[in-house]
């Protein structure tokens, strides 16, 4: 528990590299837990842009999701984000949906093009 804010430690997820320190011990650039959460939040925002859902890291302990209409949800792990995003964003989260993938790839290509200019 955080002594300052009283928040209980969040649940772990298999994709948290902190959950398996030996596996990632040889990393050329050691990554802190907060840095990993920051990177994950950035990726989640790119992934959920089409859903109109914005994700923020909440005290390094949970994720705060907000929809365009102001609906919010707080979840502990990345595994719980999808159900919450579907509920507040009103669209299924399917990484194999062809339209969704094309939109994601398009945005990425545009960004890379923009970076080159």
């Amino acid at each position: 528990m955080c002594a300052l804010c009283g928040i209980l430690g969040g649940k772990g997820h298999w994709s948290d590299s902190a959950s398996a320190p030996a596996v990632f011990a040889g990393r050329a650039e050691p990554q802190t837990r907060l840095r990993e959460r920051q990177d994950r939040t950035r990726i989640l925002n790119a992934v959920l842009q089409d859903h109109g859902v914005v994700v923020k890291d909440w005290s390094g302990n949970a994720y705060l999701l907000t929809s365009r209409t102001g609906r919010t949800a707080i979840v502990d792990t990345v595994g719980e984000i999808w159900t919450a995003a579907e509920r507040i964003g009103g669209r299924t989260c399917d990484p194999l949906d062809e339209k969704y993938l094309s939109a994601l790839a398009n945005r990425q290509a545009e960004r890379e093009q923009h970076d080159k200019l």
Partner: protein
């Protein structure tokens, strides 16, 4: 805090009715290395199992709110394992270092795996080790045709032991093996007549066992895994290895896999991977059963000079090309800007880049 590899391993021994589960188990439990194993059986079959730590469980399944059958807690198993744990702690039973669950012939291994990996108490004490499936060389093919349970048992296996070899013939065994290989490209195949020597490894090898993880991972990187493009489908189940040339970003992979399993977990019977993770010099191993993924493990060195990532999927109705394209796109999001800085969506589709 106990690391995942230190939890008590649990093996699932499954297989269709009469396929020789108990006979195999009898043989395994006679070995010195498996003398401290507790056994839970779903039903007491015709072949008696004489073991000092044997307990029966009656099948009962608690469906969870989402109603997904693979994410059901097996209430019987929950109770039996909690009880076993409590008795071990009190010293009421001899100390055991492994548990073997012998399922009934029609059991679906998925809820058993889910119970182990997600139940509030059990997941802190037990971990899923290998799933061993027995397939009868005489009746196996017909059972695969007629019973989806048999297909699922074979698809989810880490090891497939083909039994009753002496009652079949070489062409029939070869055809069965080919069919099973199409269903499950990463399982180790063993013919019961070949079992000798280090028999206990059938149970003890897994990616969390310091001694056995290299052998286990070698089944995922075998030549036939790489070359395999399954064209034979059984009940819409197929297995394939997706190969990625470029290192994978671990965070992007975690987001992608989590989203994939959220939507399609019921159709991803197994997900195994030997991954080249960007910035990590040694291969990272992942292992999942439907909606659940174990914590990652790793090998101390690469098995060979090939540094590509291999993701093995055993899926029902999902397309390989779509899965590969999807992961490639997610992997490119590593340097995605904050959402407020993202450009608006373009109407023109672009080709995805190959990793």
């Amino acid at each position: 805090m106990t690391s995942y590899s230190e939890l008590t391993p649990v093996n699932i021994v499954t297989g269709f009715l009469g396929s020789g589960k108990t006979t195999l188990l009898q043989r395994l439990l006679r070995t010195r290395e498996l003398s401290d194993v507790a056994v839970l059986v779903n039903e007491f079959g015709e072949v008696g199992l004489d073991h000092h730590l044997l307990q029966g469980v009656a099948e009962s399944t608690l469906l969870l709110e989402n109603g997904c059958l693979c994410c059901a807690i097996r209430g019987d198993l929950q109770k039996a394992l909690r009880d076993l744990l409590s008795r071990r702690t009190r010293g009421d039973v001899p100390h055991f270092r492994r548990v073997v669950i012998e399922t009934s012939g029609l059991a679906d291994p998925a809820p058993i795996a889910y119970t182990l990996l997600s139940e509030a108490v059990l997941r802190h004490h037990f971990r899923l080790s290998g799933i061993i499936t027995t397939v009868d060389a005489v009746n196996g093919a017909a059972q695969l045709d007629a019973f989806p349970e048999a297909v699922k048992q074979a698809s989810m296996a880490d090891r497939i032991v083909v039994t009753k070899i002496d009652l079949s013939n070489a062409p029939a065994i070869a055809a069965l093996r080919k069919r099973l290989r199409a269903l499950n490209v990463s399982a180790q195949f063993v013919e019961s007549s070949e079992i000798s020597g280090e028999v206990h490894r059938l149970l003890t090898d897994d990616i969390y066992d310091a001694d056995g993880k290299f052998r286990e991972a070698s089944h995922w990187t075998a030549e036939e895994v790489d070359e395999h493009g399954s064209h034979e489908h059984t009940a819409d189940v197929q297995s394939f290895a997706a190969i990625f040339d470029r290192p994978l970003d671990w965070t992007a992979f975690g987001v992608w896999a989590s989203m994939l399993l959220h939507r399609h977990g019921a159709d991803v019977l197994r997900l195994k991977g030997l991954l080249n993770v960007a910035g990590v010099p040694t291969p990272v191993l992942i292992n999942g059963v439907q909606h659940i993924v174990h914590p990652p493990s790793h090998l101390e060195k690469w098995p060979d000079s090939d540094r590509r990532s291999r993701l093995i999927f055993i899926v029902r109705g999902l397309k390989r090309a779509r899965i590969e394209r999807s992961l490639a796109i997610f992997n490119d999001l590593v340097n995605a800007p904050p959402s407020s800085a993202l450009p608006r969506e373009s109407a023109e589709p672009v080709r995805s880049r190959v990793l």
